[in-house]
Symmetry: C2
Subunit: 227 residues, 2 copies
Amino acid sequence: MIQCSYICVFGEEDTVGNNEKKVPEVVIKRLPRYYRYLSDLSAQDVHRISSGQLSELMSVTASQIRQDFNYFGGFGQQGYGYNVDYLRDEIANILGLSDGNTMIIVGAGNLGSALANHASFEKRGFKLVGIFDSDESKVGREIRGIRIMHQAQLAEFVREHRVDIAILTIPSTAVHDTAQLLVKNGVKGLLNFSRAELDLPKDVAVEHVHLSDSLMTLGYKIKEYQK
Amino acid sequence: MIQCSYICVFGEEDTVGNNEKKVPEVVIKRLPRYYRYLSDLSAQDVHRISSGQLSELMSVTASQIRQDFNYFGGFGQQGYGYNVDYLRDEIANILGLSDGNTMIIVGAGNLGSALANHASFEKRGFKLVGIFDSDESKVGREIRGIRIMHQAQLAEFVREHRVDIAILTIPSTAVHDTAQLLVKNGVKGLLNFSRAELDLPKDVAVEHVHLSDSLMTLGYKIKEYQK
């Protein structure tokens, strides 16, 4: 399993997945961004774009875009430009968005509630099927029509429903045991917002989101730009 | 200005900052992660570490670590290993953590409230000095002792207080005007959680956090790992 905070960027030699053709982590992390830009273009009725135009739009070099796409077969001639809708759909398939993923949120505090209300997740094919909290006073409340359940029901719920992803918005101290329980009961991927590192089987996907890292990056840029 | 979502990873040719020695965006994005690991090591009374050990701990190759550190002068001999506290402090300086940054949160919904409660920000030298919302019913409430002010007071507050960073947790539709107002009144950096792209002066630092991108990356990994 590759554990990865959102600023964790491996070198080209580091890859993810156990398929023949290893795709570098940096490329994987660019896919959602490509998907977003292509979705926006399509919504604006732009149906063909050159790698040059896409490069300008995304502030990524055209050669980088071509290199990235080559990991997945290239997606059509460059001279001719890319078919926006085709490219968006291909990337959606690569990301597994078309299959759809079910997810639960464990921890219904402010962050968990914010994520439960994050409508764009559904648009991307991530279906929220359950919200859990250990706080009795929250149990029974609803967020976007989904009733908050007690954390004691977590194992049973995950066993009885197909749950692909669990978003962990609980304190670091609770993360280890909760992650073990979720994985033992069939959850395939974890989105961990806590500082806790996780030691899980190789076939469990984990993404870490460290919100303070983007603040630190911002701090660096502010310092540089004032020079 | 370089706009960057947390998955936006530029190629080595892309850089940030206007100093002589250009540091690639990918390297900058690794700095907070180095800082976190080194802080943890120091807290665990580990005061010397080889690039090999650090590499294993962080799942980044040793050569990558050495390359990264060379952008900033190397930080001591490799054979001998790195002095953890020295390295942590050096990276803290590079990130500007030691100078400290003041920040405000604009948008006191669930996400804004979650971020206002994010204690680790203070530990990293980011001091929350104000919270704003356009919803009258929220004005006057306190989060961690900071009173929520009405958004109408935003410009005046920013003019009268030194505000380095504004965290935007408002709807996309409101982001453009709010960002312009903040920058006009002296804010140097924006952390934007909305989908809205920003067109701001070159000397304004912007980081975008697209929460759905880490979900999409996770979706990809789940698909790969099941193969």
